[in-house]
Amino acid sequence: MTLFRDLTIKQKQIVWAWAFLAIPVLFYGIIRFYPTGNAILISFQDWNLLGARTWTGLDNYQKLFADPVFWKVFKNTFVYLLLGTPISLVVSFFIAYHLDKTRFMHGFLRMLYFLPFMTSAVAMAWVWRWFYQPVPIGLFNNFLSTFGIPQINFLNSTTNALPAILAPAIWAGLGFQIIIFMAGLRAIPQSYYEAARIDGVSNWTVLREITLPLLKPTIVFIVVFSSIGFLRIFDHVFNMTTNNPGGPLNSTKPLVLMIYETAFTSFDMGYAAAQTVVLFLVLLVVSLIQLRILRDG
């Protein structure tokens, strides 16, 4: 300790800083960086957990790009994204815009919209799965049948299942997006609106010329954040199709579910690792494209 006492204040600071960071730096090294490198490494190997690890170069990637299931899954993942992000963006903005102008029981209304965000995806996937069952079990079909409307086959249809699974995912995320939009709307200076009112500008023009341009940072955040969520969808799909994960006929299977099955049902670790690398690249490219378009456009 005599040594420590002899240090200058500046040197002591450095020692303290690294003392504080020692455990976290180890953590990030061992639990984040090493596994990242390891995942990339394994993606070039053939390995089923028990046998030997053999180098196979780009074989896993070649196999992946030649696999029709992968392309089906790739398409599904983007359908989740391309339906989920715009729908949740428009709906949450619409609700936030009107909620922002409502004073009466504002807090109560906001609470109603936010509540689903506090639920667990697994629990709600099972609730919605029950809703979607055929007559006489499922709530939706029972409701339709009281009006004499024909049954809708939700989860057993290759065309309806994906939107049916997407619905609770959108539903659960709306509350968060509404809250973020309302915070963005609050941050716009009132003076802009007053100036517009003095000029006698219509509500529509105010929305287009003032509100939306000034909300741009909020919109960018919500688009990027929700896109990452939809590209990584898993909990809802897995729990609503446990009898046949990703079914019927792979029509709802997203990339993360394919990764899960390849790694932990077939134990084909090299192939699964290659899929995770593709997922990483997809997330990276989609986020970068969105940032570029939304920031500059």
Partner: protein, 292 residues
């Protein structure tokens, strides 16, 4: 006097709200009614889940939201089985420990990166920032292999270790420590506190709202976490609530009202916490969302 007061009052309303208040028109009533209707629709799935968990089997498939003869039979049945009790306990312990660890380490790292000047600061900052881009799914395979090698499979530690620190939390805290004036820290230093004491006694109390926001996010994230606990656990006793619920729902011939009861058990705690700390949580979500 009265006349000038009137003028003052009316000019004040002009400045405040522009046009003087006029009676609410049909449009505003309609807006409120639609928002209210939409809000009720939003909570319907939760309402039906809770209502069904309180129904007898013969009532489950009718559309009435209020059970005719409410019963807690489903809860007694599910809890007597014992597994949900265990899963609930596992989830609570794991979520609380992880939250505690994040609150301590994320803020310590955020504080150090914000208030200290030392060689390597920028590299550490960029390194932690870059981990935000790596999706969890890319890491689960190496984490699994690691757990297998070190015998962490099927244990609390195995479930918890990937989430003990988060880059998101670190940046949230770093942002908030920017608001703590350096003078406070200098003053404490002159008073003879060491750096650890300054962080814990001086800086931490000043960022309590941010700590709470972080705690809420981490707790909720771990309470609902699914894919990693699903992978790392394999005995029924080690399941967390979401994993347990998924396996319970998947068993043959499990009645829907029992699944709804299980779903309610894993949802109601967070809903109660939310209803109590509503304002606070919403503020926290905005802070975390915008600053993190």
């Amino acid at each position: 006097m009265a006349a000038t007061d009137d003028i003052r009052a009316s000019s004040a309303t002009l400045l405040e709200g522009g046009t003087p208040k006029r009676p609410a028109n049909m449009g505003q009533y309609l807006r409120w009614a639609l928002l209210f209707g939409g809000g009720i629709l939003m909570v319907m799935p939760i309402a039906y889940m809770i209502s069904t968990s309180l129904k007898w089997p013969h009532e489950v498939y009718n559309l009435k939201l209020i059970p005719e003869e409410p019963t807690i039979e489903n809860y007694t049945y599910v809890l007597e089985d014992g597994r949900f009790f265990l899963w609930f306990f596992n989830s609570i312990v794991i979520a609380l420990l992880t939250t505690l660890c994040n609150v301590i380490f994320d803020s310590l790292v955020g504080y150090t990166l914000c208030k200290f000047r030392f060689p390597g600061r920028y590299i550490v900052f960029i390194a932690i920032l870059s981990t935000l881009m790596i999706p969890t799914e890319m890491l689960v395979i190496p984490w699994y292999l690691m757990s297998q090698q070190f015998g962490w499979l099927d244990s609390y530690w195995g479930i918890m270790f990937p989430g003990l620190m988060t880059a998101f939390g670190t940046f949230l805290m770093k942002q908030f420590f920017e608001t703590v004036p350096d003078d406070f820290i200098e003053a404490a230093r002159i008073d003879g506190l060491n750096e650890l004491q300054i962080w814990w006694v001086v800086a931490m109390p000043l960022v309590k709202p941010a700590l709470a926001a972080l705690a809420i996010f981490v707790f909720l994230g771990n309470w609902t976490a699914f894919i990693w606990p699903l992978i790392v656990t394999n005995s029924v006793e080690m399941y967390t609530l979401p994993v347990g619920l998924a396996s319970f729902g998947d068993e043959a011939d499990v009645a829907w009202e029992l699944i709804m009861t299980g779903a309610a058990i894993s949802t109601i705690p967070t809903l109660i916490v939310f209803l109590i700390f509503q304002r606070f949580i919403i503020r926290g979500v905005v802070m975390a969302g915008l600053k993190g």
